[in-house]
């Protein structure tokens, strides 16, 4: 059973989600009962989370090889295998996915009144497909999961989203689809060169510089859209603002991580030389994301938009950490420093998943009560919702990178490694500590503190048990990673080192 663990983690939610779709349909007018869909979906997602335990327990931190490998022929004509496996880079993201999904389902429990079964089913299917992306070791399998994932998200934003949801969801779909088709062409090229779609074979395939550059750029397009990196980030604020709370959470917490994961699983090891020669470009784009998007976030009037922009800035740290590898290697010649940057990027992904997810939950809590996301409509929320305010301030601090929260660990690691590369990189990256604090805390100040702004705020009720649970669990996770990041860092250490040593070998 343990050898099929990854398959179970992928197909339990996917098939369970289909079952949920069929079990309940139609609208629910009264919000007293959630019908069959919600409890079933919750059960499946909690079971999925529970099944992560044997995965984590059975995972050997000390080796960088793929573990829990499954490999059976899938499509003989293309030499495509159903090939799964995880290492230290994918395991944390799988756990994160399994952790966030039940929270999303709990958060939508009574809130979703229109076709709730379809809502919960879509999230379960999405969960399975996302875990599939993190497990896939076959290029074609990876691509199938990667694309199929768009479908449930398209439906989620389009059906349960805000007023401009149609525009946002079609933009989201086409933008990401356009990004990934170029990856498809590259994958086909690699297949024609190597005779298989195995990612591990791609890793060791020698490729000429021109081809590497083209492949790198096509991967970059796919992953940069997903991350998203400046300047292909414009779909994200729209998608985030229009998506329902759960959709925003999954987008921010997991989907953006796909881009970062793609860089470490495909771009860096398959095209190391092109990555090296284009590292300047990646670092520049990352720093633009950190600094410029930070300023953009500062002027947002809509809370969700603000958090969306802050996500872009934080994901800039992730790509910065990954591509600092080259300058550090050039400066110090040691792989340890480089591993620090890559590890920092990975930690930042997990942390951002927790923190931005929590921030979107917070906005969702307020939106469910007030039906507005404008900062100007709020003020003095602490007077009527003291418990909520405490959570909100905690997550805001984590978003700003306060020591003791998860947000600090990744940013600190990346800035530390940036110093080894170049003082100015570190200087610019460190501005996020100021900018992040500025936009997050200023928003909190305007929303949470001050006098009660209007009658609606005066009539607010504090968190109910369900919301308390969701935010409480996230708060524990944020603090846990913040004060005790060792297990997370150790889980990834061997794979990160392996990655760094792998990419420092030229493939020309």
């Amino acid at each position: 059973m343990i050898e099929y663990m990854l398959s179970i983690l992928i197909w339990l939610p996917t098939i369970g989600g289909l079952a949920v779709l069929f079990l309940g349909s139609g609208d629910r007018s009264d919000s007293s009962s959630a019908g069959w869909g919600a409890p079933l979906a919750l059960g499946i997602s909690v079971l999925t989370l529970a099944l992560c335990w044997p995965l984590v327990a059975g995972f050997d931190n000390s080796i960088a090889d793929m573990q829990f490998v499954e490999r059976t022929p899938w499509i003989g004509a293309f030499n495509v295998y159903y090939h799964l496996g995880i290492d230290g880079l994918s395991l944390p993201l799988i756990v994160l996915t399994a952790f966030v999904t039940p929270l999303v389902i709990i958060a939508g429990w009574n809130v979703i009144t229109r076709s709730p079964a379809q809502y919960f089913g879509a999230f379960l299917i999405l969960e399975g497909l996302m875990i599939g992306v993190f497990c896939a070791l076959d290029g074609m399998l990876f691509y199938v999961f990667w694309e199929a994932m768009l479908v449930p998200m398209f439906i989620i934003i389009g059906v349960w989203g805000g007023t401009r949801r149609v525009y946002a969801t079609i933009k989201f779909f086409l933008y990401t689809f356009l990004g990934s088709v170029f990856m498809l062409v590259s994958l086909i090229y690699l297949y024609l060169e190597s005779g298989s779609y195995s990612l591990l074979e791609f890793h060791s395939l020698p490729i000429g510089m021109t081809a590497q550059t083209l492949i790198f750029l096509s991967f970059l397009f796919a992953f940069a859209v997903k991350v998203p990196m400046w300047p292909v980030h414009t779909w994200l604020p729209d998608a985030h603002v229009e998506a329902p709370t759960g959709g925003s959470v999954i987008l921010a917490a997991i989907m953006l991580k796909m881009g970062g994961y793609g860089f470490v699983r495909l771009s860096l090891p398959i095209t190391p030389d092109a990555s090296q020669s284009l590292a300047w470009l990646m670092i520049t784009l990352s720093l633009i994301a950190v600094v410029y998007i930070g300023f953009v976030a500062l002027v947002q009037k809509d809370m969700k938009k603000l958090i969306a922009y802050s996500s872009i800035a934080h994901m800039g740290f992730v790509t910065l950490g990954f591509f600092l590898l080259w300058p550090i290697l050039a400066q110090t010649g040691s792989t340890d420093g480089a591993a620090l940057g890559v590890g920092g990027g990975m930690v930042q992904m997990v942390s951002h998943g927790l923190v931005s997810g929590a921030m979107f939950f917070c906005v969702g809590v307020m939106y469910d009560r007030m039906h507005t996301r404008e900062i100007a409509d709020y003020g003095g929320v602490v007077n009527t919702m003291p418990h909520f305010a405490a959570f909100m301030v905690l997550f805001a601090m984590a978003n700003a990178g306060l020591p003791g929260t998860s947000g600090f660990v990744g940013e600190f690691m990346v800035i530390l490694s940036a110093f080894k590369a170049n003082f100015w990189y570190a200087f610019l990256a460190a501005t996020t500590l100021i900018l992040g604090a500025a936009y997050t805390l200023w928003m909190v100040k305007r929303v949470v503190f001050g006098d009660v702004a209007n009658e609606q705020v005066a009539a607010l009720t504090d968190l109910n048990g369900r919301e308390y649970f969701v935010l409480g669990v996230l708060a524990i996770a944020v603090l846990l990673v913040g004060v005790w990041p060792d297990p997370l860092v150790e889980m990834m250490a061997a794979s990160v080192e392996n990655l760094v040593s792998q990419v420092s070998q030229s493939k020309l």
Binding site: W74, I188, L192
Partner: protein
């Protein structure tokens, strides 16, 4: 000269079909009243009989007959089997619609069977004349079918257009045939290939003949710039007829291209490749862009057909057996998906009302989540999103084109294909937007006969399951094209 009785056995499926369709024709004379249940049953039975004969004949041997102008080979058997299958879908989907519109007449089934006969003759053709004969049987049946609803001015108009343009195209094709015959001295594909090896085909008359042949093929496919008839005919014909035109004849067009260009003129690949590049790129670009602007689903699917034809031509122009297999896979899966999409229009047509505007699908998810999901299968399949089967078709073609040779041409073609797939995704998504995101325009429940619903569901699930497990169909395609 001794007269030798030709071997009839390779043509046995066609003979069975012809015989049983005569039975249908005569039996229909004795059916009274509005309903044509007996005719329908007999028509379905003749399809099943043909399929059974085809299946029993097997998929391994290649036999020539009628002095080398007729061939029964594995590729032909597979194509015929799929053509019969798609015709079976047409009969199941069409019946209820024809009844409710009061136009269920025996001629519909008889003409459809004649069209199928034409397709099968084309698929089996080993000479240009057999090919032409099959094409005419098919075309004449289709002209009549488009005008089938004789009281409808729109149908009559589009039948007229189709007939005039189709007749010109047939003339062009025939002229090409005669030029080729005049220069190479034969109409049989095997002899043509032989003659070309001797002469290099370097002859002005032959070049003209080849161009005319390609133009004729492009017209039957509906490739740009010979696509003008497609939207009008698709739109003007009654939906069951559109369904028919949109499915099985594509198989015939594929056979036409493979037999003439590959079997007959394969050595001139470098020459006709250039022409196909123009046709394929034009079709993908024009088809996808024009489909964006459509508000009528039939017209939209018509333009999308043009775009898909571009993909099939891309596979053929690669000029490798990998490319032909890709084109075959694409054709078969396209027939499956577009047949289902047209059937969805029939599904919504209630009580004599056509529902072929995209807006008629508003809020389908509220009216019937199941059929909304079925439509989603067809749309995602046509858009080429994994895990639906359309994705593997596109992947196959792109892979074949990239593998066909080195040089910027093939990479450019691949980029054009993927970029226009994204553009094409937009109009399929728009249909889904209407289905899932908009409020329903009518709350009328969907009432259709059991067989319709089950077959449609099976059709949609086949699009999904073949996408999850494409190996079997891919192997089949690989086994029939060496």
């Amino acid at each position: 000269m001794d007269f030798v009785t030709p071997q009839f056995q390779p043509a046995f499926p066609e003979i069975v079909l012809l015989g049983s369709l005569c039975v249908v024709l005569i039996a229909d004379l004795f059916v009274d009243g509005e309903r044509r249940t007996l005719t329908w049953l007999l028509a379905v039975l003749s399809l099943l009989a043909t399929a059974g004969v085809l299946y029993m004949a097997g998929f391994t041997e290649t036999t020539f007959t009628f002095s080398g102008s007729y061939v029964a080979d594995p590729l032909g058997s597979v194509l015929k089997l799929f053509a019969v299958l798609s015709m079976l879908l047409v009969f199941v989907y069409a019946r209820e619609y024809l009844q409710s519109q009061g136009i269920e007449r025996g001629e519909f089934y008889v003409l459809s069977l004649f069209a199928l006969l034409g397709i099968m003759v084309m698929v089996s053709a080993a000479s240009l004349l057999t090919m032409y004969m099959g094409l005419e049987i098919l075309s004449l049946s289709l002209y009549a079918l488009v005008a089938f609803d004789r009281d409808s001015a729109v149908s009559a108009e589009s039948a007229m257009k189709y007939f005039v343009l189709g007749a010109i195209a047939s003339g062009v094709l025939l002229y090409g045939i005669s030029l080729v015959y005049g220069t190479l001295g034969s109409v049989q594909f095997a002899d043509l290939a032989e003659a070309l090896r001797r002469t290099d085909g370097n002859d002005l008359g032959f070049w003209f003949g080849l161009s005319f042949l390609v133009a004729g093929i492009a017209f039957k496919f509906g490739a740009v710039p010979f696509h003008m008839w497609i939207p009008d005919v698709y739109h003007g014909a009654r939906t069951p007829v559109t369904l028919l035109i949109g499915t099985a004849p594509k198989i015939a067009s594929f056979a036409l291209a493979i037999r003439v260009l590959v079997d007959g003129l394969g050595d001139l690949h470098a020459v006709w490749q250039d022409m196909l590049v123009v046709l394929a790129v034009g079709s993908i670009v024009v088809g996808n862009l024009a489909a964006l602007a459509q508000t009528n689903l039939k017209r939209m699917l018509a333009y999308s057909t043009i775009a898909h034809v571009g993909f099939i031509l891309m596979g053929i122009l690669a000029g490798t057996s990998e490319g032909y297999r890709a084109a075959l896979f694409y054709t078969l899966t396209y027939v499956l998906m577009s047949g289902g999409a047209f059937a969805m229009i029939l599904l919504l047509a209630q009580r004599g009302q056509e529902s072929d505007e995209i807006d008629d699908f508003r809020g389908l998810n509220r009216r019937s989540p199941w059929f909304a999901a079925m439509m989603a299968c067809f749309m995602f399949g046509l858009a080429g999103i994994p895990p639906w089967v359309g994705f593997w078709g596109k992947l196959n073609v792109i892979s074949a084109v990239l593998n066909a040779g080195t040089g910027p041409l093939y990479l450019t073609l691949a980029i054009i294909m993927v970029v226009f797939s994204v553009i094409g995704a937009f109009y399929y998504l728009r249909v889904l937007k209407v289905i899932y995101f908009d409020a329903p325009g009518s709350s009328e429940p969907i009432r259709k006969p059991v067989d319709f619903r089950w077959v449609l569901s099976a059709n949609a699930l086949a699009v999904l399951l073949l996408g999850c497990f494409p190996g079997l169909l891919l192997r089949l395609c690989n086994s029939v094209i060496a």
